[in-house]
Subunit: 184 residues, 2 copies
């Protein structure tokens, strides 16, 4: 039997994640049946579940990867960069992200698993906010955690608009946020 290369495995895994993202985004978690996953991914259930042990593991891997990507974008481009990215990005991952957020509500075990998924990223973002505050004229009378929470609320709100196909007013949103953070 020929040995399968790591690159082959990685490519195949990425294909599965991309197809699964479309399926979860379109049908929701419960609505994305195994038959629909097979169709969107273009592989048999046997092949899919040899990479991810269950539908749930597949969904969780996808959600974690997408969330990680937004966090990395924030570190790389800053908050404004993420907002601009939201204005351009194909919103398939947004549908899947909103599915995660919905599922978290009714499943405390899942919520614990989700919250524990990447504590370093949260710390890195707070550190980035700290650098940003040191760099520019920005109000310093509110805790960084509170600023981070508010910016997260804005991003989630934009995700909802974008996910619903409502156009985003990128510049209007940035102006709003800049004013909120400006020194008093």
């Amino acid at each position: 039997m020929p040995k399968v290369s790591q690159q082959y495995l990685d490519t195949r895994k990425q294909e599965i994640l991309d197809g699964a993202r479309r399926a979860f985004s379109r049908w929701g978690y419960e609505g994305a049946t195994v038959a629909r996953l097979e169709e969107e991914i273009g592989l048999s259930r046997g092949a899919i579940f040899s990479y991810f042990p269950s539908k749930w593991e597949l969904f969780f891997a996808l959600a974690t990867a997408d969330q990680q990507r937004v966090g990395e974008l924030w570190l790389e481009l800053g908050f404004e960069g993420v907002v601009r990215h939201f204005g351009e990005e194909d919103p398939d991952w947004i549908g899947a992200y909103l599915e995660v957020m919905r599922l978290l509500r009714t499943d405390p075990a899942l919520r614990a698993q989700w919250q524990a998924r990447n504590p370093e990223l949260h710390q890195q973002i707070v550190a980035e906010l700290d650098r940003q505050r040191a760099d520019g004229p920005q109000r310093s009378d509110v805790p960084l955690e509170s600023v981070g929470m508010s910016l997260g609320v804005v991003l989630d709100g934009l995700a909802v608009h974008r996910g619903a196909g409502v156009p985003i007013d990128v510049e209007g949103t940035l102006e709003f946020v800049r004013a909120a953070l400006a020194p008093k």
Copy 2:
């Protein structure tokens, strides 16, 4: 045959909407099968569909009623009142609301139907923002439509947090928004 009173009909209809909200919030639109709707509502499919011609009509009626309610709260309590309400409210309707937003993305016909559902409410909220601007010290160098959009983004972001069972920092959010709207 005894005549059925209007009050009886209204009560029954409200029961159906309340049960359906729990079912859609928990299972998603596709996952809320007719059997699950029957179980949450406590009525047979025959009874349910004598009030609403289809699952889709039931979902749309629910989503419209919930959205209307948030709009009316905004008019009644102002934006800050809505944010406080988000901090207290049982978030069942939020799960259903996020389902609507997800469905809008993949269904252009639905999007048109949703956007046409209540043009007056949108106008009333813009008028309310106008009154608010006249009342208090507030920046006037950004269009009201843009302010309305940004406040809508914040509410949708709070809905996502609340829907995911993440506690909302009500006072932190209000402080952020007040700063964003303060005169320069």
